[in-house]
Symmetry: C2
Subunit: 613 residues, 2 copies
Amino acid sequence: MGALATQTVDTTKRLEALRSLMSSSEHNVTAMVIPSEDQHMSEYIAACDERRAYISGFNGSAGTVIVTLKDAFLFTDGRYFLQAEKQLDSNWTLMKSGLPDVPTWQEFLSKNLEKHSRIGIDPTLITAADAESLETSLKAKESHLVSLTDNLVDFIWEDRPPRPANKVFPLDVKYSGESHQDKLKRLREELNKKPYKAMVVNMLDEVAWLFNLRGSDIDFNPVFFAYAVVTHDNSLLFVNTSQVDDVVRTHLGDPVQIKPYDEFFPYLRGLGGEVDLSDELQVLVGDKCNLAIVEAIGRERITILRSPIADFKAIKNETEIEGFRQCHIRDGAALTRYFAWLEEQLNSGTQLNESQAADKLEEFRSELDLFRGLSFTTISSTGPNGAVIHYSPDPADCSIIQKEQIYLCDSGAQFLDGTTDVTRTWHFGNPTDEEKRAFTRVLQGHIAIDTAIFPNGTTGYIIDSWARRPLWEDGLDYRHGTGHGVGHFLNVHEGPQGIGVRIAYNSTALKSGMTVSNEPGYYADGRFGIRIENIVIVRDAQTPNNFGNKGYLKFEHVTLSPIHKKLIDASLLTAAERSWLDAYHAEVLDKVSPLLKNDTRALAWLERECSPL
Amino acid sequence: MGALATQTVDTTKRLEALRSLMSSSEHNVTAMVIPSEDQHMSEYIAACDERRAYISGFNGSAGTVIVTLKDAFLFTDGRYFLQAEKQLDSNWTLMKSGLPDVPTWQEFLSKNLEKHSRIGIDPTLITAADAESLETSLKAKESHLVSLTDNLVDFIWEDRPPRPANKVFPLDVKYSGESHQDKLKRLREELNKKPYKAMVVNMLDEVAWLFNLRGSDIDFNPVFFAYAVVTHDNSLLFVNTSQVDDVVRTHLGDPVQIKPYDEFFPYLRGLGGEVDLSDELQVLVGDKCNLAIVEAIGRERITILRSPIADFKAIKNETEIEGFRQCHIRDGAALTRYFAWLEEQLNSGTQLNESQAADKLEEFRSELDLFRGLSFTTISSTGPNGAVIHYSPDPADCSIIQKEQIYLCDSGAQFLDGTTDVTRTWHFGNPTDEEKRAFTRVLQGHIAIDTAIFPNGTTGYIIDSWARRPLWEDGLDYRHGTGHGVGHFLNVHEGPQGIGVRIAYNSTALKSGMTVSNEPGYYADGRFGIRIENIVIVRDAQTPNNFGNKGYLKFEHVTLSPIHKKLIDASLLTAAERSWLDAYHAEVLDKVSPLLKNDTRALAWLERECSPL
């Protein structure tokens, strides 16, 4: 969440200029939409945000803009109602998504606009699949989507900051575990199966993974703006050439051609002729591809499928897995130093706000080997703020951490050898029985996932209820998933696997080598939030039998940070759960304490927190 | 499974006669299909079986017949390969369903038959939905389904036994808990919501439930051949009038019109004119309706949806629930008498086969109040036969029960006040460690379902993995669902709810008042089978919290029969699981022992089996 700005922008002139372009004979549209960013389409993360902020004045991180020749609407959700009310001027109508009787922006386009509307959209900002379903629902009013060759907001935006173009760097094979040559070979084998003539890679993390390159164009995600096309003979990387130096060129070697980013769409338009496409021989494109790619190649020449690179990337190799283990030991040391420091601060009566505390945690992390930044904005939250699931403290306006309230901290970092994401929940005073009981139920759900054994073919959808069962027994629950995939020195949220109630998680079986978070929680609105999150890796399990010859799987946790015993109601735990906790704490102490030789406060704290229950 | 007949029928003349009818100008078809019965379309249970047996000579309970002008094929599954090989003469080709490279009968029709085939089918023997998807797949060869006005097998079958037409009788409201007038009122309120002009009821158990009538036209299922049509003003029951006496007429009262069964389709063909149907005002038909109904009314005039009666029926009222409790106490007494008797027989060295034992169980049950027959063929199985999930002993050729093998008994009865279905697994000698460990894992899965608490909206698909988790820990699993719905003095298998891995179970949330079985198992092919099955009723749970205001649910078990302690490895159980078992046994003893005053052997056995672990 961005800072809660109170300054409003007068959007009158900007809207006038936009509408003039819209009604020009060249574009000829009666409405225009800038959809909210889709986190999964990382190729344009921030692009929507920026343009939405410019045209509307609202700079929250989620929202869809619809501008017609007369009116202007901003759709955003409950997290941003207050901010949007403050930032939007009188040209704008705020549409509060999620409230009863408020249509989605898609419904609004197909039901509230006039018949025969021509709705302009930048085809790089919508997936082909979303565009197709939107086009279908527009039929009722005989309206149409119109792909704009250029984004009209960019035309009227004089001082638009350029797209980030930071240096790209190679990720050594000692961290990635597989050369990009081998990855390209695997991809080509996949293309041969069907056969496809080529694959267009449009997800930034897939490009980064495929070529063992990383960047810093997007906060927290070590990726860079790029597209790639892989044919049987060629690999083309479309990237702003100013971002690529000789180190990168040497790393990639001759077989990979580097092309200017802006030549991507012209190249696609010529692709049909070049590789001899036909109904039988098609171009493979991932299912998150944007509409512009489909239009450039031609819908009849492409096959849209779940990207094979997403499936490759989801399964970590042994080098990546060992990297996950190692970076989590270091990360555990920084967490220990931070929590020990925080406890001392609060015990000594220091007034610390949530953001200052988060900064201290970042400071400890930044001293770690191979550290390359945070993996997301730290959620440092006291009392009621912990119940706001996506809370992040505004440095200019956040709460003082209260010793007598639950403190929830969800944080993570990027390292060359892996990515971390960990939540711990503390109470530095005297927790209530209610808080302890809820925390214990969450812990029991966490242990149920950690100790899970299940046959190959089982999805995260199937085992999600194991995490909820202890909470359900008390009539408690949480309104988020139990676990998301995690990239290896890549996006901290990564598909396609996950553990949760979203039916999409039922389409991907958990496989050995996949990483997921294990993060059940409980949130008492206006009072406190609880979450216990470790990263776990799916591994083969050695079971006494192997019914059905399927092979059975288990989880290996890599996160190493004590779970707060003071918040546990031990009477609720089974003997097996107690043993799990004690063994986990012994493991944490064993692995993390060697890194704390120079911080006696942290070491003493860790020894205390890791003692048997 | 029927008796394994070895006598074959010469089908040459029958096939000749059939083909002559097929190629007549009146029918003009090049192939004919008799699909395997669909258990859910109870209106014609047995009709397919009989005709298949007549034309092919194969009298197993599952199989599809396809006759072309030259060839004849029988498709059946692994349970019946041996029987079919023995029974089919040289006119027939056996298609072994489930083996690699053997097409389904639908694939066979759409891929193996000649182009432009005209495939005759009796439209009462296929659901409209199945016919629609079949018609689509036939397009590739420009073939077509042809609805035959009469079943051609019936024409050539001279001594065809008449359709069963046993007496129909009313079920007193003291058992049903709701008058048929009130049920009709509820149904009409449902019709009004949309609004629909009428509903056609084609499932036999739905007709029986709606009018509080029962019959005995189909083994084990207390239903009778009938259709019904409910409009806002009329209720029409189409039934062979010889089955209906004055008691039934008085019970139904004037507002229900009884019509001859054979007038059903002519009535439907006139329905459009009678109730003034239009695109807006349609006839509602359940999604299991047959093609003949759709063709008689006209596809454009009907709406096919999951039957609201199925949803009504699935939720038992308090009278039905109390009936379930009471009949299970009586049923538990018969089970006790049987297992005590069986143990004594085996200890004394009596040679008993599986079928003789099952007969004794039926004898004990038949002495119970309100008994109306078995609810399915008793599975009485020793050793390896227990691993055949749908085994039932052939009286003429079954195994002697071995004291040193696991004995699995799955059985149930129909009572005026409810339906039972219970599986218990015993060992009358010395079980192996492997058997005990597997039994204990199954028991732990059973307990996990029995003690489940979950929010409203949760489906049986979601909680199925709770039953499997203890087995998965040992690399074990079972290849059937965990639970099916159970009718109230109706079909022992009843939809739409259930607990299992079939995705269809994810479409129906478990609701208070629903009945399901809880029957995890484990099967070691060729050696033994284990299953522990109770019937449970979904009830509101009193949880300390009510997060999300959803309300939380639990299960109440009604089955009362001891779970074999000798087969339990107590070291695997948690303290909570031990307590559950002891409490369950105390409840069984408390409720069942008062009915055993005249059977000291049974009482002594029950006291021993119900003592604390």
